[in-house]
C-alpha cells in the first residue's frame, strides 16, 4: 500500500521540550507506531515550538487538533492505542484549566491560544523547519515570487510603509522608511543585516522563530534585498543558540538548492545570498552600531549616530538592519497586503507582537498577540492568571532595561506609545510577571547588576552611572539606605539616559525610575523601617518559629546547614538569629508552615 497519511503527529523539538524528554518520547512513539502497523498511516513530524513551553513535551495531533501536554516515553503506548488506533482522547494527557481542572483536549479551545493571533509565528510548531518543502507547501516563497515577477522595488517599499510595520527589535522605527533611506543612499554596494542577537534574560522570541521558521526570515530578507538593491545579507545569531544556527544553516542550504537564494533567484536576474555571523554573547551587540562593528570583526562598541547605518553601515556602505521578527513579517505583508496588515493593532502600532511571557503566571511560554491587547488580558487570560493563587504585583516589559508596571495600569493597551508613557518600553518582547513575593527594590538591583556587566564601558555616564545606582540600591537592600539616596537616584538616572550613546545606557535607568515611580513606599520601608515587605532582602528579614504551629518534628533542625536550630523532640524549636544565614531551607522544608519570615 502506498503511504496515505491520515494523521500528522507534530512533536515539538524546541530546547524546552527536548530537555523535558521529547527525544526519548519521540523514539518510543516511532517504535510503537511501527509495532502497531500504523507507519503508513500516521506520520511523525518534528516541529519548532508552538509556544506552550511550560507544558513540554508537547504533542499536537492533526487533523483532530488534539494537544497533549507533558508527554513522556511511558505515555506512548496508551497514546497510540487510545488516540491513534481508537480515536479516543487520553484525558490525563490533556491540558487542564488551572482553576477548575477541566480537561481541554483541543488546541483551539485552550485559553492560552484563544486571544493569540499567529502571524509571525504562523508556521512555528506547524511545519518541520528543516524541510523547505513543508514551508513551500504552506505558501512559503510565494511572496518572493510575487515581488520578483510583479512588483517594482519602489512599490514594495510603499507597501511596507503602508502596512505600518515598525521595527520589532525594540526601537519601533517604521520599517518602510528605513528601507527607503537605504534604497536612496548613494552607492552600488548595499548590505542587509538580520539581528538575531537576543540577549534579554529569560527571553526567547527570536530563538523560537529562528528555530521554528527559518525560511520566513530568509524570504523576508530576500524581498528586502530586492527592494533595496542589496546582494549580500548577514544573519547575526548568538552562538548560544545551536539549534537556531543549525536550522538556519539547513534552510539556507535548501533555499540555494531550490534556486531561492544565490544567483538568479527563481530564474530572474536578481542575486542575493546570506551569511551567518555568530555573536559571542555580549548584550550590547544587539544594539545596531555595536552589532555592525562586531560583524566587521571589531569589538562590539556602539558609535554615535548620525551617520545612520542606512547612510554608512558595514564597511562604510549603506546597510539596513532589522530584527529577525521584522523580517519574518515581510512575506505576510506582501502576500496578504498592507491593507490586511494595518487593520491589526492600534492607531500607531500595527500588526502583532511576540512576547516571551515568563514569571509567576500559570501558562508561561511564547505568545503572539495583536498590538493593543491589554496587559490584563496577557497576564490573566493568555497567561492563565497568577500561579498558586498569589497576588499580582508588577509586570516588566522590554527586557532588563524595561520598566515595572503596577496593577493599576493593567488595563493599558500594549503598544509602543503606551508602554513608553508608563515608563517602560516595548523592547524586543520580554515580559516578566511578578507576584507579591517580589521585592521591587531587589528587582531593580538585579537588573542593574546585569546591565553593569553588559555595559561596554565606552560612555562614562552608562559605565559609572549604572555602577553608582547599583551600589545605592545594594545599600538600600542591606538596610543601609538613607532617604537622600532616592534623590540621588532620581538625579543620576536622567543623566545616564541623556548622556549615553546607545539604547543600553538610554534605557538602563528604567527599572529604577519605574519602581521609584510606582513602588516608592517599598523603598521607604527599606530605608526607614529597615524591613523588606516581600521578605526577600536577606539583611532585613528574620526567620522564626511560630510556636503554636511547631510540632517538634525536627525536620528543620536536621536540614539546617548552620545547625542554627535547636529543640527537643516534640517540643517547640528555636532558630538562633546569630547563627542563621537566612538560606530559607527551614521555611521550605517545614510541613506545618511553622516557620515565619519577618
Amino acid at each position: 500500500m502506498t503511504e496515505q497519511y491520515r494523521a500528522d503527529v507534530l512533536i515539538c523539538t524546541c530546547p524546552a521540550c527536548t530537555k523535558a524528554g521529547a527525544p526519548e518520547m519521540q523514539h518510543a512513539l516511532k517504535a510503537e507506531v511501527e509495532r502497531r502497523g500504523l507507519a503508513g498511516e500516521v506520520r511523525l513530524v518534528e516541529t519548532g515550538s508552538r509556544g506552550f513551553c511550560s507544558m513540554g513535551p508537547v504533542v499536537i495531533i492533526r487533523p483532530e487538533g488534539i494537544l497533549y501536554c507533558q508527554v513522556h516515553d511511558v505515555d506512548v503506548p496508551e497514546l497510540v492505542e487510545e488516540t491513534l488506533v481508537k480515536g479516543r482522547i487520553v484525558e490525563r494527557l490533556t491540558y487542564k484549566e488551572p482553576e477548575t481542572h477541566k480537561a481541554i483536549p483541543h488546541y483551539d479551545e485552550i485559553p492560552f491560544y484563544d486571544k493569540q493571533m499567529r502571524v509571525v509565528t504562523r508556521n512555528c510548531g506547524l511545519i518541520n523547519p528543516q524541510n523547505i518543502e513543508e514551508y513551500i507547501a504552506v505558501g512559503g516563497y510565494q511572496a518572493l515570487g510575487k515581488v520578483l515577477t510583479s512588483m517594482a522595488p519602489k512599490e514594495i517599499i510603499e507597501e511596507v510603509k503602508k502596512s505600518g510595520l515598525r521595527g520589532r527589535g525594540g526601537a519601533g522605527f517604521p520599517t518602510g522608511r528605513k528601507w527607503e533611506f537605504t534604497r536612496n543612499a548613494p552607492g552600488d554596494v548595499k548590505y542587509l543585516v538580520a539581528n538575531g542577537d537576543e540577549g534579554d534574560p529569560g527571553a526567547f522570541m527570536d530563538r523560537s522563530l529562528m528555530e521554528g521558521d527559518p525560511h520566513a526570515i530568509l524570504e523576508g530578507m530576500t524581498i528586502g534585498a530586492y527592494a533595496m538593491g542589496a546582494h549580500k545579507g548577514y544573519l547575526y545569531v548568538r552562538d548560544e543558540y545551536p539549534l537556531a544556527l543549525r536550522n538556519l544553516n539547513i534552510a539556507m542550504e535548501q533555499a540555494r538548492e531550490y534556486g531561492l537564494l544565490g544567483q538568479g533567484i527563481l530564474g530572474s536576474s536578481f542575486d542575493f545570498d546570506v551569511q551567518i555571523v555568530r555573536g559571542a554573547g555580549a548584550f550590547v551587540c544587539g544594539e545596531e552600531t555595536a552589532l555592525l562593528a562586531s560583524v566587521e570583526g571589531h569589538a562590539g562598541n556602539p558609535r554615535p549616530r548620525p551617520p545612520y547605518p542606512a547612510q554608512s553601515g558595514l564597511w562604510g556602505k549603506p546597510t539596513n538592519i532589522n530584527n529577525v521578527k521584522t523580517w519574518a513579517n515581510i512575506p505576510v505583508v506582501i502576500s496578504r497586503g498592507a491593507d490586511w496588515f494595518n487593520q491589526i493593532g492600534t492607531e500607531t502600532s500595527k500588526g502583532t507582537m511576540i512576547f516571551s511571557l515568563v514569571g509567576k503566571v500559570n501558562n508561561t511560554g511564547l505568545v503572539e498577540v495583536p498590538m493593543g491587547i491589554t496587559l490584563r488580558e496577557l497576564v490573566f487570560d493568555v497567561g492563565g492568571g497568577m500561579r498558586d493563587g498569589k497576588q499580582f504585583k508588577a509586570v516588566q516589559t522590554g527586557g532588563p532595561s524595561g520598566g515595572c508596571i503596577p496593577e493599576e495600569l493593567l488595563d493599558l493597551p500594549v503598544d509602543y506609545e503606551h508602554l513608553k508613557e508608563a515608563g517602560s518600553i516595548m523592547g524586543s518582547g520580554g515580559m516578566i510577571v511578578m507576584d507579591e513575593n517580589a521585592c521591587m527594590v531587589d528587582i531593580a538591583r538585579y537588573f542593574l547588576d546585569f546591565l553593569k556587566d553588559e555595559s561596554c564601558g565606552k560612555c562614562t555616564p552608562c559605565r559609572e552611572g549604572i555602577r553608582q545606582m547599583l551600589s545605592i540600591l545594594t545599600r538600600i537592600t542591606e538596610g543601609q539606605g538613607e532617604m537622600g539616596d532616592l534623590q540621588v537616584l532620581e538625579t543620576l538616572a536622567p543623566v545616564v539616559k541623556e548622556a549615553s550613546l546607545c539604547g543600553l545606557g538610554q534605557t538602563a535607568p528604567n527599572p529604577v525610575l519605574s519602581t521609584l515611580r510606582y513602588f516608592r513606599d517599598e523603598y521607604v520601608t527599606h530605608i526607614v523601617d529597615h524591613k523588606c515587605p516581600a521578605g526577600v532582602c536577606k539583611e532585613l528579614i528574620e526567620y522564626y518559629v511560630i510556636e503554636d504551629l511547631c510540632t517538634g518534628c525536627g525536620v528543620c533542625r536536621r536540614k539546617c546547614p548552620q545547625e542554627a536550630i535547636s529543640g527537643e523532640k516534640k517540643e517547640v524549636h528555636v532558630i538562633d538569629p546569630a547563627l542563621c544565614i537566612k538560606c530559607g531551607v527551614c521555611f521550605d522544608v517545614c510541613k506545618f508552615d511553622a516557620v515565619g519570615v519577618r
Binding site: A7, G87, G145, Y258
Partner: protein, 126 residues
C-alpha cells in the same frame, strides 16, 4: 532537486506538496470512522484504508479522523461524513466494497446514499 526557474514552477511544486500536509490544512469535509473495539473487530480499519485509498485515487481533499465507540455497536463499522454546515450523515455496516460508491455519490455528486444511512445529525448537536 533542480533549481526552480520561475514562479510557475514554484506554484506547481506547491500544488504537489500541499497534499503532504493535508492533515494540517483546514478542510471542509471530514470522514470519521468508528474505531472502538467493536468497530475494529467489524473491520473498521480495512474500511478506513479503503477510504484513504479512494480519496487518494480520486484526488479528494478531506480529513479522515477516528472516534471511539458511540454505542451503536451492532451497526459497526460506522462511517460519518460531515461537509461544512450540512447535516452529519452516518452510514452503518460499511464494508470496503461499499466505499467507492459512497465516495462517488456522496462526495463527488453530492447525493447521500440513503439506503445505507443509519443516522443524521443536524446543527449544533453534531
Amino acid at each position: 532537486m533542480p533549481k526552480l526557474k520561475s514562479i510557475e514552477e514554484l506554484q506547481k511544486l506547491r500544488g504537489q506538496l500541499q497534499k503532504d500536509i493535508k492533515a494540517r490544512t483546514e478542510m471542509n469535509t471530514t470522514v470519521t470512522v468508528g474505531m472502538g473495539t467493536c468497530g475494529i473487530s467489524a473491520g473498521a480499519r480495512e474500511v478506513m484504508h479503503a477510504i484513504l485509498a479512494e480519496l487518494e485515487t480520486r484526488g479528494i481533499d478531506a480529513h479522515v479522523t477516528t472516534v471511539g465507540c458511540i454505542g451503536m455497536c451492532s451497526k459497526e463499522p460506522l462511517v460519518d461524513i460531515q461537509q461544512g454546515d450540512e447535516p452529519r450523515i452516518t452510514y452503518g455496516n460499511v464494508t470496503p466494497a461499499m466505499v467507492p460508491r459512497m465516495i462517488e455519490e456522496h462526495l463527488i455528486q453530492g447525493n447521500v446514499v440513503e439506503e445505507w444511512v443509519v443516522g443524521r445529525v443536524t446543527g449544533q448537536e453534531g
